[in-house]
């Protein structure tokens, strides 16, 4: 840390205890967060799990707000709960909501080992953290926020100075994400036949030639439209080849046809 920040740290009185209100909210929402997190893990239905995750995200947003991080609290709700989680739900719907997990464990010994891991990890982490924070005190962000005139401004200053490089590089990450989703999901139909090709194909199939007892509409005509009459061998237009609804003549041909019966 530079001299300036050290000085700033020294200037503010350390917070050793939170305000009672914060404590109350912490314990209340902390319990909620844990329950919701357990919900993510143990809800049988994936959608319920997603909703439980929303709960966790919201409690976290509150924690951020309480810890002088109003900007992050907003981003948490807008980006995380608003966008990321919607993506999750969207895919869940796509995949099928009813695909709920069976809770029977198929891997032998897996659940026990997981239990051992969970317990030992939480004990070690909580124990170590508990040991480390016994006398912790918070410097608080008052002076840090004041540097540029507010939390958002100070964050912006940091992002565009100290952290400008990761900020730039993250753009690469977003492009990768977009390209990746396109690669895996987008289907480029390069082999789709063009309209004239389709038409030629249609004419080659003989059954279509005589569908009306005449050339099919559009065949040999001056355009592809079904409303353009076919051309007779002499070059005259065969109005019978067009349906009356499209402006052709009614049944009963005026000119002899050479089409095969």
């Amino acid at each position: 840390m530079t001299a300036a920040s050290v000085a700033a740290v020294a200037a503010a009185a350390p917070i050793t205890h939170t305000r009672p209100g914060e404590s109350a909210v912490f314990y209340l929402l902390g319990a909620v967060a844990i329950v919701a997190a357990l919900g993510v893990v143990f809800a049988k239905n994936a959608v319920h799990a997603a909703l439980a995750l929303v709960g966790v995200l919201f409690t976290f947003a509150v924690f951020y707000a309480m810890q002088d991080a109003p900007f992050l609290a907003a981003v948490q709700i807008i980006v995380y709960a608003g966008a990321i989680l919607m993506l999750f739900l969207f895919v869940l719907m796509l995949v099928g909501v009813d695909s709920s997990d069976s809770l029977v464990e198929t891997l032998r010994g897996h659940r026990i080992a997981t239990g051992v891991f969970g317990l030992s990890f939480v004990v070690i982490m909580v124990g170590a953290i508990g040991h480390a924070i016994t006398h912790a005190s918070a410097v608080g962000l008052t002076s840090a926020n004041a540097v540029a005139g507010g939390n958002v401004q100070s964050l912006a200053r940091l992002i565009f100075t100290t952290y400008f490089w990761p900020f730039e590089v993250i753009s690469a990450l977003l492009i990768v994400a977009a390209v990746g989703a396109m690669v895996l999901a987008h289907r480029e139909r390069t082999d789709r036949p063009s309209q004239p090709e389709l038409m030629r194909e249609r004419y080659r199939r003989e059954d279509l030639v005589s569908a009306l007892g005449h050339s099919a509409p559009g065949v040999f005509a001056l355009g592809d439209s079904a409303a353009r009459p076919a051309l007779l061998p002499g070059g005259a237009e065969d109005l019978d080849s067009v349906y009356p609804e499209l402006g052709g003549s009614a049944h009963g041909s005026s000119a002899p046809q050479e089409s095969t019966p």
């Binding site: 891997l107 897996h110 997981t114 051992v116 070690i124």
Partner: protein, 638 residues
């Protein structure tokens, strides 16, 4: 300790390595285009190296004694901060001997392989591997640092692995290759830890730096380094308790057995210890362990060699046993280093002779390896017989043949160590000589003498010249090599700058002449034992090895006169042999196999934890997290 920087002709030392390396690269990467002519090119490569080695040898010999260690610095291999290793080659009397042996025997075996592998579809690959092996082996002996040696060490391991498994259609080949690989890795662990320890204590791994600084290493560290080096040596050289892979490695083509598993690679362990002489000199406890390993192995190999009917297996165990002699010798310290090297060179000749002879026999007998189906080949394959005979006389230490000069020295030096341990080691070595004579005579009799017990449709014939010629050259080497090596103490003097002065002609525990006579008597005993059991005209060799009951029945029918003999000598010997074979097969292999099975079993069981359920993975992560948090808090508050 410093070495002279290479200049002039010595700057060409790296070419020794380059030739076979180029051959290997060309043949292995060249593809089918080289199927036809590649092998000829590959054969020229070790010959080129050999010629260069001879030139370098005479050049080295012309230098003053103090200038006979030449360091050919190639480039700076690792150079970071306080961590310097240069890639360089060290040509000194010790490595010179090995270079000559490797390129010489290697060349001969390449030539032999031309005939032996003439009809093999994978010939190009085979010659590529052979070249690769020669290159790696040369790097092993020429490197000027332990790290460089390690590179060659792994390289020969790899090449040997590829060659053992060369006949991929034989399932046994794959298994043997894997076994060799695993046991070698055990040894490699020792070697690499030794190197790490050197670096940790001295900050150096090059020979000059390490040997210059051994006096600054604490005794415990030094002993640890020496023992780890020994572990590495045991793995590569097939010494107890890591001997199991060597006999199995005979699944490879016979030239491979000759080149790698007899003459060159398996002696790398001896080289390692001899090269590390300055370390072992200061660690007498470690040296004692080396001698014990050597003595146990030499007896073990010899005893088990009596039990097998597979001609290559017998030769393999005899290799294990002979290397045991060398270990025994190097373990004796300055008194034994040079003797060990001399025996090593002599062994390279005679063992290669016999392996090539065995290959020639197999070639003639449609790849039959069971000696019970040989017999009477003497007249059919005169050249093979004659050359094999040279090797045989050499290995048993027949007077004037090379083993006589070299093995006797080891026995003598063992007694000269003095004290109880000297006597124990000496008697072990002596006993080993007798057993060696027994099983080698058995091999000779079963293969070349007696009735023809061939399977139907086999028409043995002498091998082509490309095969017999190398055998003849090697046979001459086996016959006279030993004598030449010790002539005027030549090699010993040659090696003195590297290995220190050997305690030559000091006070002998047992009079030299007396000891020679005792040794000869023991050898004669072994020979006659084998003759009595297998060589007499009345003995019938059954096609299947006699079981315990069968031995008795056979004895009742044919060996009435030898009931005493059997009860006193044969039967306990047979039981001992059988026990040792059991230990070899079940005990050691069992231990290695059991270890592998344990790891594999653990793996199979742990694998079930990877059950595919994401939640189980998350659970293991969570428990890991708890453990981490708990552990760090324990560190903090504990």
């Amino acid at each position: 300790m410093t070495y002279t920087a290479a200049s002039g002709l010595f700057a060409a030392t790296w070419l020794l390595l380059l030739f076979p390396l180029v051959g290997a690269a060309l043949l292995l990467l060249g593809g089918k285009a080289l199927d036809r002519a590649g092998y000829q090119f590959a054969t020229l490569m070790p010959i080129a190296s050999f010629v260069l080695a001879v030139v370098l040898f005479f050049h080295l010999k012309s230098q003053p004694t103090s200038g006979r260690a030449v360091d050919d610095h190639l480039y700076s291999w690792i150079a970071v901060g306080g961590f310097h290793v240069s890639a360089g080659l060290l040509l000194d009397p010790l490595s010179m001997i090995f270079v000559l042996l490797i390129t010489g025997v290697g060349s001969l075996i390449h030539i032999y392989s031309i005939g032996y592998m003439a009809h093999d579809p994978g010939r190009r690959r085979f010659f590529g591997y052979l070249n690769l092996f020669v290159a790696a082996m040369l790097l092993l002996v020429l490197a000027d640092s332990y790290l460089g040696l390690y590179v060659g060490w792994e390289g020969v391991g790899l090449a040997s692995y590829l060659l053992i498994a060369f006949w991929q259609y034989k399932p046994a080949a794959g298994t043997a290759a894997k076994k060799a690989f695993v046991m070698n890795r055990v040894g490699d662990v020792g070697l690499s830890l030794a190197i790490m320890l050197m670096f940790a204590t001295l900050d150096k791994v090059d020979y000059a730096g390490v040997f210059g600084g051994v006096h600054h290493i604490g005794h415990a560290d030094l002993t640890a380094i020496a023992l780890l080096l020994l572990l590495g040596a045991c793995g590569k050289s097939g010494q107890v308790p890591l001997q199991g892979w060597l006999p199995d490695a005979m699944e490879g083509p016979t030239p491979v057995s000759a080149l790698i598993h007899a003459a060159t690679m398996v002696t790398a362990g001896v080289y390692l210890i001899a090269r590390s002489a300055p370390i072992f000199d200061l660690a007498p406890e470690a040296r004692l362990v080396v001698t014990i390993v050597g003595a146990v192995t030499l007896l073990f190999g010899a005893a088990v060699g009596c039990a097998y009917d597979d001609i290559k297996k017998v030769l393999a165990y005899s290799t294990v046993s002979q290397i045991g002699y060398m270990f025994l010798a190097v373990g004796l310290g300055p008194a034994g280093y040079a003797i060990a090297i001399i025996h090593l060179v002599a062994h390279g000749f005679f063992k290669a002779t016999m392996f090539l002879g065995a290959g020639s026999v197999m070639h003639a007998m449609d790849d039959q390896v069971d000696m019970r189906r040989f017999g009477g080949l003497r007249s059919v394959m005169p050249v093979t017989f004659a050359t094999f005979l040279m090797g045989y006389l050499a290995i048993i230490g027949f007077p004037l043949w090379s083993g006589f000069w070299t093995k006797d020295k080891i026995i003598e030096a063992s007694f000269d160590k003095g004290g109880t341990s000297g006597y124990i080691l000496g008697i072990c070595a002596l006993l080993g000589a007798g057993v060696t004579a027994f099983y080698m005579t058995r091999l000779m009799i079963l293969t070349f003498f007696g009735k023809r017990r061939w399977t139907e449709g086999v028409h043995p014939h002498e091998s082509p010249v490309s095969m017999t010629a190398p055998m003849i050259v090697l046979a001459i080497g086996s016959a006279v090599g030993g004598f030449l090596l010790i002539l005027n103490g030549g090699v010993q003097h040659w090696l003195t700058p590297v290995l220190g002065k050997s305690a030559e002609e000091g006070v002998h525990t047992v009079n030299g002449t007396v000891l020679t006579i005792i040794t000869l008597l023991v050898v004669a005993g072994g020979m006659s034992g084998a003759y009595v059991a297998f060589g007499r005209p009345t003995v019938r060799i059954p096609w299947t090895p006699p079981q315990a009951g069968a031995v008795v029945t056979a004895a009742r029918r044919n060996l009435y006169g030898d009931a005493f003999n059997e009860a006193v000598f044969m039967r306990p010997g047979q039981y001992l042999t059988r026990f040792l074979v059991f230990v070899d097969g079940r005990g050691v292999d069992g231990a290695v196999g059991g270890l592998a099975a344990l790891v594999g079993g653990t793996s199979g069981r742990m694998r079930r934890a990877q059950n595919g359920f994401v939640r189980s993975y998350a659970l293991s992560m969570s428990l890991g997290a708890v453990a981490l948090v708990g552990a760090l808090l324990l560190v903090r508050f504990g």
